[in-house]
Symmetry: C2
Subunit: 274 residues, 2 copies
């Protein structure tokens, strides 16, 4: 893989890279479509990365269908798919970890304490293998995009991180590989997450500036579907996920939501300029 990239770079080509864990959906495909707007050559990786799953999480049952994923990647213009094995990525005598402070401690990082370090590690490895000029991530994992940007800056990766909007079904459900765990009925119920964020956005546009009141709007809306158990609802600054009690006009904020539907954990977010 690295040899291919080196040859392309020497030939003056730019490389765009989409790291994925497979189980490709419209969200990934929109990233694939974006790559060619930035780079000459489009690459994707398909690797269900064990280091970002905790022992109690869904690593084993995470959906895998490499053949179908590769076909979809090819259809959407990906020139090279890198699909390593676990042993290729993590040798027996693997000793290196990457750890980020601060933004990895809250929300997803608080619930999944080793998650972002695992993400940072595999992304750093993939960056060194693929040597991309541009790397593409979905806004759906908003906190992850902050972690990646921070690592790229701190470790001086010479890579532009491009974040693309969340892709949703017409009913508002955010595309996610974990939607595969949901029944059709549950998928419909999960749309309350998006609806709750729309209500909050509407209240903000009508003048609501108090964080607690905005959170309350969301929590009460989600409560209309009792099967959904909220893990957290937060309304924070986009830049560093910091909390303030009252927003002011011009604040760039993000609503972050995590909720369980049965055993399936769903996350979603919405960017709002107050």
């Amino acid at each position: 893989m690295t040899e291919i990239s080196c040859e392309l770079i020497k030939a003056g080509k730019t490389i765009g890279f989409v790291p994925t864990m497979g189980a490709l959906h419209l969200g990934h495909l929109s990233l694939f479509e974006a790559v060619k707007q930035y780079a000459d050559v489009a690459m994707a990786s398909i690797f269900v990365n064990p280091t970002q799953f905790a022992p109690n999480e869904d690593f084993d049952k995470y959906p895998r269908d490499l053949k179908k994923d590769v076909e979809m990647a090819e259809l959407y213009g990906i020139d090279y798919v890198f699909a390593p094995s676990n042993d290729e990525m993590y040798s027996k005598n693997f000793l290196t970890n990457i750890h980020l402070d601060g933004i990895t401690k809250v929300f997803e990082g608080e619930r999944r304490p080793t998650h972002f370090d695992g993400v940072a590690l595999v992304v750093a490895k993939l960056f060194n293998i693929i040597k991309p000029h541009y790397a593409f991530f979905g806004q759906k994992d908003y906190q992850q995009t902050l972690v990646i940007k921070q690592m790229v800056k701190d470790l001086n990766f010479d890579i532009d991180v491009v974040v693309r909007p969340t892709v949703r079904l017409e009913n508002g459900l955010a595309m996610s590989s974990r939607n595969n765990y949901l029944t059709d009925d549950e998928k419909e119920k999960a749309t309350i997450i998006y609806k709750s964020m729309l209500e909050a956005k509407s209240a903000i546009s009508l003048g609501e500036r108090n964080k607690e009141k905005i959170v309350k709007i969301i929590v009460e809306k989600i409560a209309e579907v009792p099967e959904l158990k909220i893990d957290y609802v937060a309304v924070v600054k986009q830049k560093d996920l910091s909390e303030v009690d009252n927003f002011v006009s011009g604040d760039e904020i993000v609503i972050l939501i995590a909720a369980f539907l049965g055993k399936t954990r769903l996350i979603d977010n919405m960017l709002i300029t107050v």
Copy 2:
């Protein structure tokens, strides 16, 4: 710096890189001389990296003379010197750490618990900035070379790590920037470290295979100079610094020594094939 490297890579040139903390001595210069045997373009960095010093260590008084160092680098064929400021390398909102388990826990890592993580961090940053094909390190910091090689492998840096022999004065003293802290008399006294390793090597060549006996030979020899206070003496496997009680013919081992002379801490090592 990265733009320069990218242009060179696109032009098909290979880059050789020597990271240094300045205070250049013959050890560095032998690395500079080696670079051109491997690579088209020779680069060096001069940066006294704060993250590899503990608060009680000699970061502030570490010898610095950038002008002289740059002149020496130029004389020895270095094409580009990268000498960033602390603020350029570590922004106010810096959050990323690299940590290696195992080999960083013993010997130097036990005495300087944050040292190797700081080394790994700055080297990873420099690798991403400089984008070298070859990186050169001195055998003098033997454990450090193991840490760098492990990180390069684990994080998939596409870089060949080249380790060059320790350069010594005729009396056996290993070249080190910290020799600047020693008086001429102390420099002479410090040669007992090298002499003790020669005695051990000689005993091994005469058939000694017992680790404790080899260590005893070294400790007793160093005791001839009472000003030298041993921090540790170890005789271990080169590959992973593992300990065995008795060696067998063909074992590739390394003697590791750290000792204080006044406030100055000296380290040295010798590779031996039994």
